[in-house]
């Protein structure tokens, strides 16, 4: 019987009155890929941070290969072979792969110079041993996202990591890239590396993990081998009874292709040189139209153009039958259009401003009286929105930075709902959001649709597309396919269409 690589024993972390982690146990054996899943706020991050030494537990111990490890000491944890790969890249984009792997701890000659040759040999050996192919001399910033993940993995391996913690490693990857990453993970597993795999994507758990640990409300509530558990059971465990029921019901909503029959937004042969070509579609009031496809199929670029944040070279755009030319988001907003960008931190939220202020950000002129900004009307409107979307905690004066991912996303969505948009465009509306918040966001979108808004969603998550869409179109390499009724298609047909020209 192997000894566990790492064992967290009765780990507990208390912040003031909040018990973030309650006597949690986690064990990883050599060659084991263990999924760690749970809603946002379930305690996964706290557990991981204790294992990396970033957080000192209030109670409990961590054992590495049978020895107690000092707690709250990140350098010591790294020395003992525990590495973590975060959702957002920690690489220096302008530096080469080689420099990134050894960043901050280059092997040196006795003169104190960087031993370039030795460094390169070590990196080569590492690549060979783990069957990874990478050009060591290119700048990391020029690599695809999946290759960047591999660089991070290499960086961990160069530290002789025995345990690699991966926090949402596939958050920004396309389906084929996920496949590549999983191949790398299997190779690591064969070498006896233990992996903790945190993801909201249940498909991935079933594809690559051996065992699963489910957390809820700071506790480990279930552990199982992946083969002994199925999807509905996992969702059930993660979100609890009530939400699971709601999420099941969500699948049985009535679809409304072409909504009220009124074309709200019409794209006529839109082209942007070198980006997308001849894109035409009608978006109806009272429907949800989903555009899916691979990352890199230029869907985001299309949305930005529709919103006036970028220009197109040819074609026309019509809103409610009238031709418009939008030169800025300001113009689009004046037409009642809202746009939820994919990257909520970089493009959506002001993280250090309050929830109230963020909710009002697209509609400041509504809260003016004379030259004044009416703080009273602003916070009243925000309070209604916080209640309507059940943003937690319901304190509008807190900085948005302090909210969980799901609640941040609801805040961003609320900013546009405050506008009572006639057209709302969403780019990957549930990226990095837990199962419970996903169900809530779908319900919000349906409500907007039923109110008569025209909803356009771009999503790579086919399950999501099939759940919320009234009509679906696939975008491949800058061209939009036919728009189909969601009832008339299924996941296999979509996958075929997405793959049609990609190969």
């Amino acid at each position: 019987m192997d000894r566990p690589l790492i064992r967290g024993i009765d780990l507990t972390k208390v912040y003031g009155d909040l018990v973030a982690l309650n006597t949690a146990n986690l064990t990883v054996m050599p060659g084991e890929v263990r999924a760690l899943i749970g809603s946002n706020g379930a305690g996964k991050s706290t557990l991981i941070k204790i294992l990396t030494g970033a957080v000192t537990p209030t109670l409990g111990k961590v054992e590495i290969e049978g020895e107690y490890a000092p707690l709250g000491d990140p350098r010591e944890m790294i020395r003992r072979g525990v590495a973590c790969i975060y959702q957002h890249s920690n690489l220096a984009p302008a530096m080469s792969v080689l420099d990134n792997i050894y960043l901050g701890r280059q092997p040196t000659s006795h003169l104190g110079l960087v031993a370039v040759k030795r460094q390169r040999q070590a990196a080569r050996a590492l690549l060979d041993r783990h069957g990874i192919t990478l050009d060591l001399d290119v700048a990391v910033g020029s690599l695809s996202t999946v290759k960047q993940k591999e660089v991070e993995i290499l960086k961990a391996l160069a530290l002789e990591a025995r345990v690699i913690l991966m926090d949402e490693p596939t958050g920004w990857l396309s389906a084929s890239e996920v496949g590549k990453l999983h191949a790398t993970i299997r190779a690591l597993k064969d070498r006896g590396v233990g992996i903790v795999y945190i993801s909201h994507m249940l498909d991935e758990i079933f594809a690559v993990c051996d065992t699963v640990t489910v957390m809820r409300d700071g506790k480990v509530i279930a552990e199982s081998a992946v083969v002994d558990i199925d999807r509905p059971r996992v969702v059930h465990l993660m979100v609890g009874e009530k939400l699971a029921r709601e999420s099941e019901q969500a699948g049985q909503h009535k679809r409304r292709p072409r909504g009220t029959g009124e074309v709200r937004l019409g794209a006529r042969r839109l082209s942007k040189h070198g980006v997308f070509t001849d894109v035409s579609f009608d978006l109806y009031a009272g429907e949800i139209l989903c555009i899916t496809g691979l990352i890199g199929s230029k869907r985001t670029e299309l949305l930005r153009t529709l919103f006036g944040a970028d220009r197109f070279d040819a074609g026309t755009l019509e809103i409610e039958g009238k031709r418009v030319s939008l030169s800025s988001p300001r113009g689009a907003i004046a037409h009642g259009m809202g746009f939820l960008p994919e990257d909520r931190h970089r493009e959506g939220l002001m993280l250090d401003l309050s929830t109230n202020e963020n909710l009002a950000m697209a509609t400041l002129s509504r809260f003016r009286s004379g030259i004044l900004l009416s703080a009273r009307r602003l916070s009243k409107s925000a309070r209604l929105m916080i209640e309507a979307l059940s943003i937690q905690p319901p304190d509008g004066n807190r900085a948005v930075r302090l909210l969980s991912g799901g609640n941040q996303q609801k805040t961003l969505l609320g900013k546009w709902l405050t506008l009572s948009p006639r057209i709302i465009i969403l780019d990957e509306p549930t990226v990095g959001v837990d199962v419970g918040a996903k169900a809530e966001i779908y319900a919000i979108l349906r409500k907007e649709r039923d109110r008569g808004a025209a909803v356009l969603v771009v999503s790579s998550d086919l399950e999501e597309v099939l759940t919320v869409a009234d009509r679906i179109a696939v975008m491949v390499s800058g061209r939009l396919g036919d728009v189909r009724d969601a009832e008339a298609t299924d996941i296999n047909a979509l996958v075929r269409e997405i793959g049609s020209q990609a190969a």
């Binding site: 208390v14 109670l59 697209a362 400041l364």
Partner: protein, 323 residues
């Protein structure tokens, strides 16, 4: 929680101490310094000296109030010194040309506003870094001031209305202090009560998101540099009226450092985002008290400069811990 270890408890107690002290570090420091100076030299607490302190900070105070928005957007304005000199010279030449007082002041402040708008336009529309653009403006505006003013001292003795701005008294309080108070109150009002105040913080926090929320981010950035230039030129008018002379070399090197130090001491992050004009004023008074106290204690100028630098660094370090 009874389960908390002593180490964790000690940690949270210290964190709590910093949470309470951090935001109030500046008022506390001002009080402590006040007490130290008052004990060391009782003359510190006389009404004359206290009014003197405020009078000393009028110029820096007006400039710091007006440039707080620039720093909140994540920018910086290094050109305040030359703009001060330029504004004063423009006012002098308008006076000389026989313009009425209101027009003189309007022309002087507008010249600063215009310089700021131009720097702001380059920053916002050409996308160049503020530090470079305003550094260039620093050089250009100083050159312009020397071009129109030469190296002469332009005496302003025959316009009592004008010199009243700098040397007049109302109820025993210098008139310039009233101007400072009005500027500070207006800036506080704009920051706390108008959409512009929120928009400035929003741009500093996330300019991209502000743009995608439908705001005119570039025009706003232009405007905040204009306001900063306005403040510098107004300070220039007050200075020329105080000393009855306009010279092209007013606002020497170091003026911009005092102004930026006051804003940053007030807790506005140099990276942009949230900030407060009211707290900038605390920064201004803090620096003013440090200067005055050291003068009263007869500390020599060289030591004063060193001490000031160290105090600023320590205060900033404390503020960073508090956050």
């Amino acid at each position: 929680m009874s389960t908390e270890s002593p180490v964790a408890q000690g940690h949270t107690r210290r964190a709590r101490l910093f949470r309470v002290l951090g935001p109030n570090a500046l008022p506390i420091a001002i009080l402590v310094l006040g007490v130290i100076f008052a004990v060391a030299q009782p003359a510190f607490l006389t009404a004359d000296n206290l009014i003197g302190i405020v009078r000393q900070v009028v110029l820096i105070g007006i400039m710091a109030s007006c440039t707080t928005f620039v720093i909140m957007t994540g920018g910086v304005d290094l050109s305040v010194g030359p703009v001060l000199a330029f504004g004063g010279l423009v006012a002098f030449f308008c006076l000389n040309a026989g313009w009425p007082l209101a027009l003189v002041i309007f022309a002087g402040t507008t010249s600063g506003f215009a310089v700021g708008l131009i720097s702001g336009a380059v920053i916002a529309f050409a996308g160049l870094p503020p530090i470079i653009v305003t550094l260039a403006a620093l050089s250009i505006v100083r050159g312009a001031a020397l071009t129109i003013g030469g190296t002469d001292q332009h005496l302003i003795n025959s316009w009592p209305d004008y010199t009243f701005i700098g040397s007049g008294m109302i109820f025993g309080v210098p008139f310039s202090i009233f101007i400072f108070a009005v500027v500070a109150l207006v800036m506080i009002f704009i920051q706390k009560r108008t959409p512009l105040g929120l928009l400035v913080a929003a741009i500093g926090d996330n300019e991209r998101a502000a743009y995608l929320s439908g705001h005119r981010t570039r025009l706003t950035k232009m405007l905040v540099y204009g306001i900063s230039g306005f403040g510098a030129a107004l300070a220039g008018i007050i200075q020329t009226a105080q000393v009855h002379t306009a010279i092209a070399i007013y606002g020497p090197f170091g003026t911009e450092l005092d102004v930026i130090a006051a804003v940053v001491l007030g807790g506005t992050s140099i990276m942009g985002g949230r900030g407060s004009v009211a707290r900038t004023l605390l920064g201004v008074f803090f620096l003013g008290i440090v200067n005055d106290g050291m003068n009263i204690l007869n500390v020599s100028v060289d030591i004063q400069l060193i001490a000031k630098g160290i105090i600023i660094a320590c205060a900033l370090g404390l503020a960073a811990r508090g956050n």
